[in-house]
Protein backbone atom coordinates (compact mmCIF):
# COMPACT_ATOMS: atom_id res chain seq x y z
CA UNK A 1 0.00 0.00 0.00
CA UNK A 2 1.50 3.36 -0.94
CA UNK A 3 2.38 5.83 1.79
CA UNK A 4 -0.13 8.62 2.23
CA UNK A 5 2.45 11.16 0.95
CA UNK A 6 2.52 9.32 -2.41
CA UNK A 7 -1.27 9.55 -2.60
CA UNK A 8 -1.01 13.27 -1.92
CA UNK A 9 1.79 13.67 -4.48
CA UNK A 10 -0.59 12.20 -7.07
CA UNK A 11 -3.52 14.29 -5.89
CA UNK A 12 -1.63 17.60 -5.86
CA UNK A 13 0.46 16.74 -8.94
CA UNK A 14 3.71 17.01 -6.97
CA UNK A 15 6.87 14.83 -7.34
CA UNK A 16 6.42 11.52 -5.50
CA UNK A 17 9.09 10.79 -2.84
CA UNK A 18 8.40 7.03 -2.95
CA UNK A 19 10.49 6.16 -6.07
CA UNK A 20 13.54 7.90 -4.58
CA UNK A 21 13.00 6.03 -1.32
CA UNK A 22 12.49 2.76 -3.22
CA UNK A 23 15.76 3.12 -5.11
CA UNK A 24 17.60 3.68 -1.82
CA UNK A 25 15.97 0.77 -0.03
CA UNK A 26 16.35 -1.60 -3.01
CA UNK A 27 20.12 -1.68 -2.45
CA UNK A 28 20.89 -4.80 -0.45
CA UNK A 29 23.24 -4.26 2.49
CA UNK A 30 23.68 -8.03 2.83
CA UNK A 31 25.74 -8.12 -0.38
CA UNK A 32 28.70 -6.08 0.91
CA UNK A 33 28.19 -7.59 4.38
CA UNK A 34 28.58 -11.10 2.96
CA UNK A 35 31.48 -9.98 0.76
CA UNK A 36 33.16 -8.60 3.89
CA UNK A 37 32.65 -11.98 5.62
CA UNK A 38 34.33 -13.82 2.75
CA UNK A 39 37.20 -11.35 2.58
CA UNK A 40 37.53 -11.60 6.35
CA UNK A 41 37.81 -15.39 6.14
CA UNK A 42 40.66 -14.97 3.63
CA UNK A 43 42.31 -12.32 5.84
CA UNK A 44 42.25 -14.68 8.83
CA UNK A 45 43.51 -17.61 6.74
CA UNK A 46 46.45 -15.50 5.56
CA UNK A 47 47.15 -14.26 9.09
CA UNK A 48 47.27 -17.82 10.48
CA UNK A 49 49.41 -19.02 7.59
CA UNK A 50 52.07 -16.38 8.14
CA UNK A 51 53.26 -17.99 11.41
CA UNK A 52 53.78 -21.31 9.61
CA UNK A 53 55.49 -19.58 6.67
CA UNK A 54 57.85 -17.84 9.11
CA UNK A 55 58.69 -21.20 10.76
CA UNK A 56 59.27 -22.70 7.31
CA UNK A 57 61.63 -19.91 6.37
CA UNK A 58 63.65 -20.27 9.59
CA UNK A 59 63.87 -24.04 9.04
CA UNK A 60 64.90 -23.83 5.40
CA UNK A 61 67.51 -21.19 6.25
CA UNK A 62 68.89 -23.51 8.93
CA UNK A 63 68.74 -26.60 6.73
CA UNK A 64 69.85 -25.46 3.29
CA UNK A 65 72.58 -22.91 2.68
CA UNK A 66 71.54 -22.11 -0.94
CA UNK A 67 69.66 -18.84 -1.40
CA UNK A 68 66.99 -19.85 -3.90
CA UNK A 69 64.95 -22.08 -1.54
CA UNK A 70 64.96 -19.24 1.00
CA UNK A 71 63.57 -16.88 -1.65
CA UNK A 72 60.83 -19.35 -2.62
CA UNK A 73 59.65 -19.77 0.98
CA UNK A 74 60.04 -16.06 1.72
CA UNK A 75 57.82 -15.34 -1.33
CA UNK A 76 55.00 -17.37 0.26
CA UNK A 77 55.35 -15.35 3.44
CA UNK A 78 55.37 -11.98 1.67
CA UNK A 79 52.53 -12.88 -0.72
CA UNK A 80 50.41 -14.11 2.21
CA UNK A 81 51.14 -10.82 3.93
CA UNK A 82 50.19 -8.80 0.83
CA UNK A 83 46.93 -10.74 0.33
CA UNK A 84 46.09 -10.32 4.03
CA UNK A 85 46.60 -6.55 3.91
CA UNK A 86 44.64 -6.24 0.66
CA UNK A 87 41.71 -8.43 1.82
CA UNK A 88 41.60 -6.68 5.19
CA UNK A 89 41.34 -3.26 3.50
CA UNK A 90 38.70 -4.55 1.05
CA UNK A 91 36.74 -6.18 3.87
CA UNK A 92 36.75 -2.85 5.71
CA UNK A 93 35.49 -1.07 2.56
CA UNK A 94 32.70 -3.65 2.15
CA UNK A 95 31.73 -3.22 5.81
CA UNK A 96 31.68 0.56 5.33
CA UNK A 97 29.53 0.12 2.22
CA UNK A 98 27.08 -2.13 4.11
CA UNK A 99 26.96 0.46 6.89
CA UNK A 100 26.31 3.27 4.40
CA UNK A 101 23.48 1.31 2.77
CA UNK A 102 21.94 0.39 6.15
CA UNK A 103 22.26 4.00 7.33
CA UNK A 104 20.47 5.21 4.19
CA UNK A 105 17.69 2.63 4.77
CA UNK A 106 17.34 3.79 8.39
CA UNK A 107 17.21 7.43 7.28
CA UNK A 108 14.40 6.65 4.85
CA UNK A 109 12.46 4.86 7.60
CA UNK A 110 13.11 7.71 10.03
CA UNK A 111 11.95 10.32 7.52
CA UNK A 112 8.72 8.45 6.88
CA UNK A 113 8.24 8.02 10.61
CA UNK A 114 8.82 11.74 11.21
CA UNK A 115 6.40 12.51 8.40
CA UNK A 116 3.77 10.25 10.03
CA UNK A 117 4.26 11.98 13.39
CA UNK A 118 3.95 15.37 11.73
CA UNK A 119 0.82 14.28 9.86
CA UNK A 120 -0.82 13.13 13.10
CA UNK A 121 0.24 16.11 15.19
CA UNK A 122 -0.74 18.69 12.58
CA UNK A 123 -4.05 17.04 11.80
CA UNK A 124 -3.60 16.98 8.04
CA UNK A 125 -4.30 13.27 7.57
CA UNK A 126 -8.06 13.77 7.26
CA UNK A 127 -9.65 15.99 4.67
CA UNK A 128 -11.42 19.06 6.13
CA UNK A 129 -15.07 19.61 5.50
CA UNK A 130 -15.93 20.50 1.93
CA UNK A 131 -17.32 23.83 3.13
CA UNK A 132 -14.13 24.74 5.03
CA UNK A 133 -12.29 26.49 2.19
CA UNK A 134 -9.58 27.98 4.41
CA UNK A 135 -9.08 24.63 6.12
CA UNK A 136 -8.72 22.91 2.75
CA UNK A 137 -6.25 25.51 1.56
CA UNK A 138 -4.22 25.19 4.76
CA UNK A 139 -4.20 21.37 4.68
CA UNK A 140 -3.27 21.36 0.98
CA UNK A 141 -0.36 23.73 1.55
CA UNK A 142 0.91 21.66 4.49
CA UNK A 143 0.63 18.42 2.57
CA UNK A 144 2.44 19.78 -0.51
CA UNK A 145 5.19 21.21 1.69
CA UNK A 146 5.59 17.86 3.45
CA UNK A 147 5.78 15.95 0.17
CA UNK A 148 8.39 18.42 -1.14
CA UNK A 149 10.34 18.17 2.14
CA UNK A 150 10.36 14.36 1.91
CA UNK A 151 11.55 14.49 -1.71
CA UNK A 152 14.35 16.86 -0.74
CA UNK A 153 15.36 14.71 2.24
CA UNK A 154 15.36 11.47 0.24
CA UNK A 155 17.33 13.12 -2.55
CA UNK A 156 19.90 14.25 0.01
CA UNK A 157 20.10 10.72 1.45
CA UNK A 158 20.46 9.32 -2.08
CA UNK A 159 23.24 11.79 -2.96
CA UNK A 160 25.11 10.97 0.25
CA UNK A 161 24.80 7.24 -0.44
CA UNK A 162 25.99 7.72 -4.03
CA UNK A 163 29.00 9.67 -2.79
CA UNK A 164 29.82 6.90 -0.29
CA UNK A 165 29.38 4.28 -3.03
CA UNK A 166 31.66 6.19 -5.41
CA UNK A 167 34.32 6.40 -2.69
CA UNK A 168 33.97 2.64 -2.02
CA UNK A 169 34.32 1.94 -5.77
CA UNK A 170 37.70 3.68 -5.68
CA UNK A 171 38.71 1.65 -2.61
CA UNK A 172 37.48 -1.58 -4.21
CA UNK A 173 39.46 -1.01 -7.41
CA UNK A 174 42.21 -3.55 -6.72
CA UNK A 175 42.06 -7.32 -7.23
CA UNK A 176 43.44 -8.83 -3.98
CA UNK A 177 44.94 -11.72 -5.94
CA UNK A 178 47.32 -9.76 -8.16
CA UNK A 179 50.31 -10.71 -6.00
CA UNK A 180 49.60 -14.44 -6.34
CA UNK A 181 51.09 -15.97 -9.48
CA UNK A 182 48.95 -18.27 -11.60
CA UNK A 183 49.91 -21.94 -11.46
CA UNK A 184 51.90 -23.33 -14.33
CA UNK A 185 48.91 -25.50 -15.15
CA UNK A 186 47.02 -23.43 -17.67
CA UNK A 187 43.80 -25.05 -18.90
CA UNK A 188 43.39 -22.72 -21.88
CA UNK A 189 46.92 -23.53 -22.97
CA UNK A 190 46.15 -27.25 -22.61
CA UNK A 191 43.06 -26.77 -24.81
CA UNK A 192 45.18 -24.84 -27.32
CA UNK A 193 47.75 -27.63 -27.46
CA UNK A 194 45.09 -30.30 -27.99
CA UNK A 195 43.51 -28.30 -30.83
CA UNK A 196 46.83 -27.48 -32.49
CA UNK A 197 47.66 -31.21 -32.42
CA UNK A 198 44.45 -31.84 -34.43
CA UNK A 199 45.33 -28.96 -36.73
CA UNK A 200 48.81 -30.39 -37.36
CA UNK A 201 47.25 -33.75 -38.13
CA UNK A 202 45.04 -32.09 -40.80
CA UNK A 203 48.08 -30.27 -42.20
CA UNK A 204 49.95 -33.57 -42.56
CA UNK A 205 47.08 -35.01 -44.63
CA UNK A 206 45.65 -32.01 -46.48
CA UNK A 207 42.54 -33.15 -48.31
CA UNK A 208 40.02 -30.87 -50.01
CA UNK A 209 38.35 -28.12 -48.09
CA UNK A 210 39.48 -29.44 -44.70
CA UNK A 211 43.11 -29.10 -45.77
CA UNK A 212 42.45 -25.57 -47.03
CA UNK A 213 40.74 -24.69 -43.75
CA UNK A 214 43.64 -26.08 -41.68
CA UNK A 215 46.20 -24.18 -43.78
CA UNK A 216 44.31 -20.89 -43.23
CA UNK A 217 44.03 -21.40 -39.45
CA UNK A 218 47.70 -22.37 -39.25
CA UNK A 219 48.61 -19.22 -41.19
CA UNK A 220 46.44 -17.14 -38.83
CA UNK A 221 48.21 -18.55 -35.76
CA UNK A 222 51.55 -17.89 -37.39
CA UNK A 223 50.54 -14.26 -38.09
CA UNK A 224 49.54 -13.84 -34.43
CA UNK A 225 52.95 -15.16 -33.34
CA UNK A 226 54.73 -12.78 -35.74
CA UNK A 227 52.88 -9.86 -34.18
CA UNK A 228 53.91 -10.99 -30.71
CA UNK A 229 50.36 -11.90 -29.61
CA UNK A 230 49.53 -14.78 -27.29
CA UNK A 231 47.08 -16.74 -29.46
CA UNK A 232 45.13 -19.72 -28.11
CA UNK A 233 43.21 -22.01 -30.42
CA UNK A 234 40.22 -22.73 -28.18
CA UNK A 235 38.00 -24.36 -30.76
CA UNK A 236 38.92 -26.05 -34.03
CA UNK A 237 36.07 -27.69 -35.94
CA UNK A 238 37.04 -28.00 -39.63
CA UNK A 239 33.67 -29.49 -40.66
CA UNK A 240 31.20 -27.87 -38.29
CA UNK A 241 28.84 -26.18 -38.54
CA UNK A 242 27.34 -27.51 -41.76
CA UNK A 243 30.67 -27.98 -43.47
CA UNK A 244 31.76 -24.37 -43.24
CA UNK A 245 34.25 -24.87 -40.43
CA UNK A 246 34.26 -23.21 -37.04
CA UNK A 247 37.08 -21.74 -35.03
CA UNK A 248 37.72 -19.76 -31.85
CA UNK A 249 41.05 -18.08 -31.27
CA UNK A 250 41.83 -16.03 -28.18
CA UNK A 251 44.22 -13.12 -28.26
CA UNK A 252 45.60 -13.10 -24.72
CA UNK A 253 45.80 -15.79 -22.08
CA UNK A 254 42.24 -16.76 -21.22
CA UNK A 255 43.17 -18.60 -18.02
CA UNK A 256 45.08 -15.75 -16.41
CA UNK A 257 43.03 -12.82 -17.72
CA UNK A 258 40.95 -10.81 -15.27
CA UNK A 259 38.52 -9.94 -18.10
CA UNK A 260 37.58 -12.20 -20.98
CA UNK A 261 35.45 -11.13 -23.94
CA UNK A 262 33.97 -13.29 -26.67
CA UNK A 263 33.63 -11.31 -29.88
CA UNK A 264 31.14 -12.67 -32.43
CA UNK A 265 31.31 -11.08 -35.89
CA UNK A 266 28.48 -11.01 -38.40
CA UNK A 267 27.70 -11.85 -42.03
CA UNK A 268 30.47 -11.85 -44.59
CA UNK A 269 33.12 -12.91 -42.09
CA UNK A 270 34.75 -16.27 -42.44
CA UNK A 271 36.77 -18.43 -40.04
CA UNK A 272 39.56 -18.50 -42.65
CA UNK A 273 39.84 -14.69 -42.46
CA UNK A 274 40.07 -14.64 -38.66
CA UNK A 275 43.61 -13.19 -38.65
CA UNK A 276 42.18 -9.90 -39.96
CA UNK A 277 40.54 -9.33 -36.56
CA UNK A 278 43.58 -10.00 -34.34
CA UNK A 279 44.62 -6.33 -34.14
CA UNK A 280 41.08 -5.39 -33.22
CA UNK A 281 41.04 -8.01 -30.45
CA UNK A 282 44.35 -6.66 -29.18
CA UNK A 283 42.96 -3.11 -29.15
CA UNK A 284 39.91 -4.30 -27.24
CA UNK A 285 42.25 -5.93 -24.68
CA UNK A 286 44.12 -2.64 -24.30
CA UNK A 287 40.84 -0.71 -23.83
CA UNK A 288 39.68 -3.26 -21.24
CA UNK A 289 42.95 -3.08 -19.31
CA UNK A 290 42.86 0.70 -19.43
CA UNK A 291 39.32 0.75 -17.98
CA UNK A 292 40.04 -1.94 -15.37
CA UNK A 293 43.11 -0.23 -13.91
CA UNK A 294 46.51 -1.41 -12.77
CA UNK A 295 47.47 -5.08 -12.75
CA UNK A 296 44.55 -6.12 -14.93
CA UNK A 297 44.87 -8.37 -17.95
CA UNK A 298 42.41 -9.04 -20.73
CA UNK A 299 41.83 -11.67 -23.39
CA UNK A 300 39.47 -11.54 -26.36
CA UNK A 301 38.15 -14.70 -27.98
CA UNK A 302 37.20 -14.33 -31.63
CA UNK A 303 34.42 -16.87 -32.04
CA UNK A 304 33.46 -17.89 -35.56
CA UNK A 305 31.75 -21.10 -34.60
CA UNK A 306 28.37 -20.65 -36.23
CA UNK A 307 27.13 -20.93 -39.77
CA UNK A 308 27.87 -17.35 -40.79
CA UNK A 309 25.68 -16.25 -43.70
CA UNK A 310 27.58 -14.90 -46.72
CA UNK A 311 30.97 -16.18 -45.63
CA UNK A 312 31.07 -18.66 -48.53
CA UNK A 313 33.21 -16.57 -50.95
CA UNK A 314 36.32 -17.07 -48.87
CA UNK A 315 35.85 -20.25 -46.86
CA UNK A 316 35.90 -22.62 -49.81
CA UNK A 317 32.76 -24.46 -48.66
CA UNK A 318 31.34 -24.21 -52.17
CA UNK A 319 34.26 -25.41 -54.20
CA UNK A 320 32.60 -26.00 -57.58
CA UNK A 321 30.96 -23.30 -59.78
CA UNK A 322 27.51 -24.92 -59.54
CA UNK A 323 27.78 -25.40 -55.75
CA UNK A 324 28.98 -21.86 -55.49
CA UNK A 325 25.91 -20.43 -57.26
CA UNK A 326 23.52 -22.62 -55.23
CA UNK A 327 25.40 -21.74 -52.07
CA UNK A 328 25.27 -18.03 -52.84
CA UNK A 329 21.47 -18.11 -53.22
CA UNK A 330 21.02 -20.24 -50.11
CA UNK A 331 23.42 -18.11 -48.10
CA UNK A 332 21.78 -14.85 -49.19
CA UNK A 333 18.35 -16.13 -48.11
CA UNK A 334 19.81 -17.07 -44.72
CA UNK A 335 21.11 -13.51 -44.25
CA UNK A 336 17.63 -11.95 -44.33
CA UNK A 337 16.33 -13.34 -41.08
CA UNK A 338 17.60 -14.53 -37.70
CA UNK A 339 17.25 -18.29 -38.25
CA UNK A 340 21.02 -18.84 -38.51
CA UNK A 341 21.48 -16.70 -35.39
CA UNK A 342 18.97 -18.88 -33.54
CA UNK A 343 21.01 -21.99 -34.42
CA UNK A 344 24.26 -20.10 -33.83
CA UNK A 345 23.03 -19.08 -30.38
CA UNK A 346 22.82 -22.74 -29.38
CA UNK A 347 26.40 -23.31 -30.56
CA UNK A 348 27.61 -20.18 -28.77
CA UNK A 349 25.94 -21.34 -25.54
CA UNK A 350 27.77 -24.66 -25.85
CA UNK A 351 31.03 -22.79 -26.44
CA UNK A 352 30.46 -20.59 -23.36
CA UNK A 353 29.89 -23.73 -21.27
CA UNK A 354 33.22 -25.09 -22.50
CA UNK A 355 34.98 -21.74 -22.03
CA UNK A 356 33.99 -20.94 -18.45
CA UNK A 357 36.11 -23.73 -16.87
CA UNK A 358 39.16 -22.34 -18.68
CA UNK A 359 38.60 -18.86 -17.26
CA UNK A 360 39.63 -17.65 -13.81
CA UNK A 361 36.49 -17.93 -11.65
CA UNK A 362 36.60 -14.27 -10.62
CA UNK A 363 37.18 -12.91 -14.14
CA UNK A 364 34.54 -10.87 -15.98
CA UNK A 365 33.09 -12.67 -18.98
CA UNK A 366 31.37 -10.56 -21.66
CA UNK A 367 29.79 -11.58 -24.95
CA UNK A 368 30.04 -8.96 -27.72
CA UNK A 369 28.21 -9.36 -31.00
CA UNK A 370 28.53 -7.17 -34.05
CA UNK A 371 25.83 -6.98 -36.72
CA UNK A 372 24.42 -10.49 -37.30
CA UNK A 373 26.78 -11.62 -34.51
CA UNK A 374 24.79 -9.44 -32.09
CA UNK A 375 21.64 -11.37 -32.99
CA UNK A 376 23.57 -14.60 -32.34
CA UNK A 377 24.82 -13.31 -28.97
CA UNK A 378 21.28 -12.29 -28.00
CA UNK A 379 19.95 -15.73 -28.95
CA UNK A 380 22.67 -17.40 -26.86
CA UNK A 381 21.92 -15.11 -23.92
CA UNK A 382 18.29 -16.23 -24.10
CA UNK A 383 19.25 -19.68 -22.91
CA UNK A 384 22.12 -18.80 -20.56
CA UNK A 385 21.55 -19.19 -16.82
CA UNK A 386 23.11 -17.08 -14.06
CA UNK A 387 25.33 -20.03 -13.18
CA UNK A 388 26.87 -19.91 -16.67
CA UNK A 389 28.82 -16.91 -15.45
CA UNK A 390 28.33 -14.43 -18.30
CA UNK A 391 28.40 -10.98 -16.72
CA UNK A 392 27.32 -8.75 -19.60
CA UNK A 393 26.43 -8.67 -23.29
CA UNK A 394 27.12 -5.93 -25.82
CA UNK A 395 25.05 -5.74 -29.01
CA UNK A 396 26.76 -3.56 -31.64
CA UNK A 397 25.17 -2.45 -34.93
CA UNK A 398 22.38 -4.90 -34.35
CA UNK A 399 19.74 -5.67 -36.97
CA UNK A 400 17.71 -7.17 -34.07
CA UNK A 401 17.87 -9.25 -30.90
CA UNK A 402 16.34 -12.30 -32.60
CA UNK A 403 13.38 -14.42 -31.60
CA UNK A 404 11.73 -15.06 -28.25
CA UNK A 405 13.06 -11.80 -26.81
CA UNK A 406 11.03 -8.65 -26.31
CA UNK A 407 13.10 -6.66 -23.83
CA UNK A 408 16.42 -6.91 -22.00
CA UNK A 409 14.51 -8.27 -18.99
CA UNK A 410 13.92 -11.51 -20.94
CA UNK A 411 17.54 -12.65 -20.50
CA UNK A 412 17.35 -14.88 -17.44
CA UNK A 413 21.11 -15.25 -16.94
CA UNK A 414 22.10 -11.61 -17.37
CA UNK A 415 20.78 -8.60 -15.46
CA UNK A 416 19.06 -6.12 -17.80
CA UNK A 417 21.37 -3.60 -16.24
CA UNK A 418 24.29 -5.35 -17.92
CA UNK A 419 22.83 -5.51 -21.41
CA UNK A 420 24.40 -2.80 -23.60
CA UNK A 421 23.71 -1.80 -27.17
CA UNK A 422 25.09 0.71 -29.64
CA UNK A 423 23.95 1.53 -33.18
CA UNK A 424 25.39 4.59 -34.88
CA UNK A 425 22.69 6.87 -36.35
CA UNK A 426 24.03 6.59 -39.92
CA UNK A 427 24.64 2.83 -39.80
CA UNK A 428 22.24 1.43 -42.44
CA UNK A 429 22.08 -2.14 -41.12
CA UNK A 430 19.91 -1.61 -38.01
CA UNK A 431 17.48 0.29 -40.24
CA UNK A 432 17.53 -2.37 -42.98
CA UNK A 433 16.90 -4.99 -40.31
CA UNK A 434 13.56 -3.38 -39.50
CA UNK A 435 12.45 -2.34 -42.98
CA UNK A 436 9.17 -3.73 -44.25
CA UNK A 437 10.91 -4.68 -47.52
CA UNK A 438 13.15 -7.19 -45.75
CA UNK A 439 10.23 -8.36 -43.65
CA UNK A 440 8.17 -9.14 -46.76
CA UNK A 441 10.93 -11.01 -48.59
CA UNK A 442 10.21 -14.28 -46.88
CA UNK A 443 6.49 -14.58 -45.99
CA UNK A 444 6.88 -18.26 -45.06
CA UNK A 445 9.28 -17.58 -42.21
CA UNK A 446 7.16 -14.57 -41.24
CA UNK A 447 4.20 -16.88 -40.69
CA UNK A 448 6.40 -19.48 -38.98
CA UNK A 449 7.72 -16.87 -36.53
CA UNK A 450 4.22 -15.83 -35.61
CA UNK A 451 3.25 -19.44 -35.04
CA UNK A 452 6.38 -20.33 -33.02
CA UNK A 453 6.69 -17.21 -30.86
CA UNK A 454 3.13 -15.91 -30.82
CA UNK A 455 4.31 -12.53 -31.99
CA UNK A 456 6.32 -11.41 -35.00
CA UNK A 457 8.74 -8.61 -34.19
CA UNK A 458 10.28 -8.69 -37.67
CA UNK A 459 12.81 -11.00 -39.35
CA UNK A 460 15.54 -10.05 -36.84
CA UNK A 461 13.41 -9.42 -33.75
CA UNK A 462 13.27 -6.23 -31.67
CA UNK A 463 15.85 -3.48 -32.05
CA UNK A 464 18.04 -3.53 -28.90
CA UNK A 465 18.87 0.15 -29.39
CA UNK A 466 15.18 1.11 -29.03
CA UNK A 467 14.16 2.58 -25.67
CA UNK A 468 11.38 -0.01 -25.45
CA UNK A 469 14.01 -2.79 -25.34
CA UNK A 470 15.28 -1.35 -22.02
CA UNK A 471 18.97 -2.09 -22.63
CA UNK A 472 21.64 0.44 -21.70
CA UNK A 473 22.13 2.34 -24.96
CA UNK A 474 25.75 3.46 -25.07
CA UNK A 475 26.44 7.09 -25.84
CA UNK A 476 29.39 7.32 -28.23
CA UNK A 477 29.77 8.98 -31.62
CA UNK A 478 30.63 7.19 -34.85
CA UNK A 479 34.29 7.33 -35.83
CA UNK A 480 33.58 7.32 -39.59
CA UNK A 481 32.71 10.47 -41.56
CA UNK A 482 29.23 10.72 -43.09
CA UNK A 483 29.45 8.94 -46.44
CA UNK A 484 25.84 9.47 -47.54
CA UNK A 485 23.11 6.85 -47.72
CA UNK A 486 23.97 3.15 -47.43
CA UNK A 487 27.40 3.97 -46.00
CA UNK A 488 28.72 0.59 -44.88
CA UNK A 489 31.83 2.19 -43.35
CA UNK A 490 29.47 3.29 -40.59
CA UNK A 491 28.59 -0.35 -40.02
CA UNK A 492 32.15 -1.73 -39.90
CA UNK A 493 33.30 -3.47 -36.73
CA UNK A 494 36.45 -1.33 -36.89
CA UNK A 495 34.22 1.76 -36.66
CA UNK A 496 32.48 0.40 -33.56
CA UNK A 497 35.71 -0.72 -31.92
CA UNK A 498 37.63 2.53 -32.09
CA UNK A 499 37.63 5.90 -30.36
CA UNK A 500 35.04 6.61 -27.71
CA UNK A 501 32.91 3.57 -28.58
CA UNK A 502 35.92 1.28 -28.03
CA UNK A 503 36.52 2.92 -24.64
CA UNK A 504 32.83 2.41 -23.77
CA UNK A 505 32.96 -1.28 -24.75
CA UNK A 506 36.25 -1.59 -22.79
CA UNK A 507 34.52 -0.24 -19.68
CA UNK A 508 31.84 -2.96 -20.06
CA UNK A 509 34.35 -5.76 -20.58
CA UNK A 510 36.34 -4.54 -17.57
CA UNK A 511 33.17 -4.75 -15.46
CA UNK A 512 33.23 -0.99 -14.79
CA UNK A 513 29.59 -0.59 -15.75
CA UNK A 514 29.25 2.71 -13.90
CA UNK A 515 31.88 4.18 -16.23
CA UNK A 516 30.04 3.31 -19.45
CA UNK A 517 28.55 6.43 -21.08
CA UNK A 518 24.88 5.65 -21.68
CA UNK A 519 21.91 7.67 -22.86
CA UNK A 520 19.51 8.49 -20.04
CA UNK A 521 16.43 6.25 -20.11
CA UNK A 522 13.58 7.81 -22.07
Amino acid sequence: MPHITSVWAGFYDAPDPAPIAAEITSACADIPRNAARLLNSVTLAMRFSIGSARTALAAVQAGWSARQPHDSVRAIWTISDTVEISCHALSQSCTDLAAAVSKAHAEVRAEYSLADSFIDSSGIRDDPSLYDIDGMRHVGTERIALVARLCARFSAVSRALDADAARMCAQLAVDPGTAVPYPEHNPSRTRHEANTARLRSDLRNPTGRQGLFAAHINEALSQARDKGYTAQLLSYEPNCPIGQGGVAIAIGNVSSASSVSVLVPGVGNSPVDIAGSFDLANELNAATESAAGINSSAATVLWLGYDLPLSWPSDGAMNTPRASVNGAIHDSVRAIDATSALMGGVLLTTFVHSLRPLVNGAANLTLIGHSYGSTTVSQAARSLAKSDGVDAIVLLASPGAGYGITTADDYKGIDADQVFSLSFPLDPVPKIGHSTVISGLNPVTQAARKMAFGVDLGPFGPNPADASFRANVMNAPSNAPDGGSLDFDQHALTNYLSGESLAAVGAVTAGRYGHVPVHPPK
Binding site: S26, A59, S65, I76, C94, L161, V174, D175
Partner: protein
Protein backbone atom coordinates in the same frame (compact mmCIF):
# COMPACT_ATOMS: atom_id res chain seq x y z
CA UNK B 1 80.52 -20.44 -9.39
CA UNK B 2 79.56 -23.28 -7.11
CA UNK B 3 80.07 -22.77 -3.39
CA UNK B 4 80.00 -25.23 -0.53
CA UNK B 5 76.49 -26.44 0.16
CA UNK B 6 75.43 -27.16 3.72
CA UNK B 7 72.31 -29.22 4.13
CA UNK B 8 70.30 -30.55 7.06
CA UNK B 9 67.45 -32.63 5.64
CA UNK B 10 65.63 -32.74 8.99
CA UNK B 11 65.35 -28.96 8.87
CA UNK B 12 64.21 -29.10 5.24
CA UNK B 13 61.50 -31.59 6.25
CA UNK B 14 60.52 -29.29 9.12
CA UNK B 15 60.22 -26.45 6.60
CA UNK B 16 58.10 -28.68 4.38
CA UNK B 17 55.76 -29.58 7.28
CA UNK B 18 55.38 -25.89 8.17
CA UNK B 19 54.53 -25.08 4.55
CA UNK B 20 51.89 -27.82 4.48
CA UNK B 21 50.36 -26.16 7.58
CA UNK B 22 50.47 -22.81 5.77
CA UNK B 23 48.80 -24.33 2.69
CA UNK B 24 46.06 -25.79 4.94
CA UNK B 25 45.42 -22.29 6.25
CA UNK B 26 45.35 -20.85 2.72
CA UNK B 27 42.92 -23.52 1.54
CA UNK B 28 40.64 -23.27 4.56
CA UNK B 29 38.22 -20.57 3.31
CA UNK B 30 37.44 -22.65 0.23
CA UNK B 31 36.64 -25.72 2.36
CA UNK B 32 34.31 -24.12 4.90
CA UNK B 33 30.65 -24.91 4.13
CA UNK B 34 29.47 -21.53 5.42
CA UNK B 35 31.92 -19.78 3.08
CA UNK B 36 30.62 -21.86 0.17
CA UNK B 37 27.04 -20.96 1.09
CA UNK B 38 27.78 -17.23 1.32
CA UNK B 39 29.76 -17.38 -1.92
CA UNK B 40 26.85 -19.09 -3.73
CA UNK B 41 24.43 -16.47 -2.38
CA UNK B 42 26.66 -13.68 -3.68
CA UNK B 43 27.09 -15.33 -7.08
CA UNK B 44 23.32 -15.27 -7.60
CA UNK B 45 22.69 -11.88 -6.02
CA UNK B 46 21.21 -9.10 -8.11
CA UNK B 47 22.45 -5.59 -7.45
CA UNK B 48 19.80 -2.90 -7.16
CA UNK B 49 19.95 0.81 -6.36
CA UNK B 50 21.39 3.81 -8.16
CA UNK B 51 24.20 3.32 -10.70
CA UNK B 52 27.08 4.11 -8.26
CA UNK B 53 25.55 1.84 -5.61
CA UNK B 54 25.10 -1.02 -8.09
CA UNK B 55 28.71 -0.60 -9.22
CA UNK B 56 29.97 -0.68 -5.63
CA UNK B 57 27.87 -3.76 -4.82
CA UNK B 58 29.13 -5.56 -7.94
CA UNK B 59 32.72 -4.69 -7.10
CA UNK B 60 32.29 -6.00 -3.56
CA UNK B 61 31.07 -9.34 -4.95
CA UNK B 62 33.92 -9.49 -7.45
CA UNK B 63 36.62 -8.68 -4.90
CA UNK B 64 35.27 -11.33 -2.52
CA UNK B 65 35.43 -13.94 -5.31
CA UNK B 66 38.93 -12.80 -6.24
CA UNK B 67 40.03 -13.03 -2.60
CA UNK B 68 38.84 -16.64 -2.43
CA UNK B 69 40.52 -17.45 -5.76
CA UNK B 70 43.76 -15.86 -4.53
CA UNK B 71 43.68 -18.01 -1.38
CA UNK B 72 43.18 -21.15 -3.49
CA UNK B 73 46.03 -20.25 -5.84
CA UNK B 74 48.32 -19.48 -2.92
CA UNK B 75 47.46 -22.87 -1.34
CA UNK B 76 48.48 -24.57 -4.60
CA UNK B 77 51.70 -22.57 -4.80
CA UNK B 78 52.58 -23.31 -1.15
CA UNK B 79 51.91 -27.03 -1.53
CA UNK B 80 54.01 -27.11 -4.68
CA UNK B 81 56.92 -25.47 -2.81
CA UNK B 82 56.46 -27.96 0.04
CA UNK B 83 56.60 -30.82 -2.49
CA UNK B 84 59.79 -29.45 -3.97
CA UNK B 85 61.39 -29.25 -0.52
CA UNK B 86 60.34 -32.83 0.15
CA UNK B 87 61.86 -33.99 -3.14
CA UNK B 88 65.06 -32.09 -2.36
CA UNK B 89 65.32 -33.71 1.10
CA UNK B 90 64.90 -37.19 -0.43
CA UNK B 91 67.49 -36.39 -3.11
CA UNK B 92 70.02 -35.10 -0.54
CA UNK B 93 69.52 -38.20 1.63
CA UNK B 94 70.02 -40.44 -1.41
CA UNK B 95 73.21 -38.61 -2.39
CA UNK B 96 74.48 -38.94 1.16
CA UNK B 97 73.77 -42.66 1.21
CA UNK B 98 75.59 -43.06 -2.12
CA UNK B 99 78.56 -41.10 -0.80
CA UNK B 100 78.63 -43.09 2.46
CA UNK B 101 78.33 -46.33 0.46
CA UNK B 102 81.16 -45.20 -1.83
CA UNK B 103 83.47 -44.60 1.10
Amino acid sequence: MLGNLEVDTDEIRRARAALVDAADCHAQPATLPEVAAVSATLRHATCHGSAPVREALRLSIQRAEQGLEAAKRLATMTLSTADRLSSAAIAFDTVEQVCVGGN
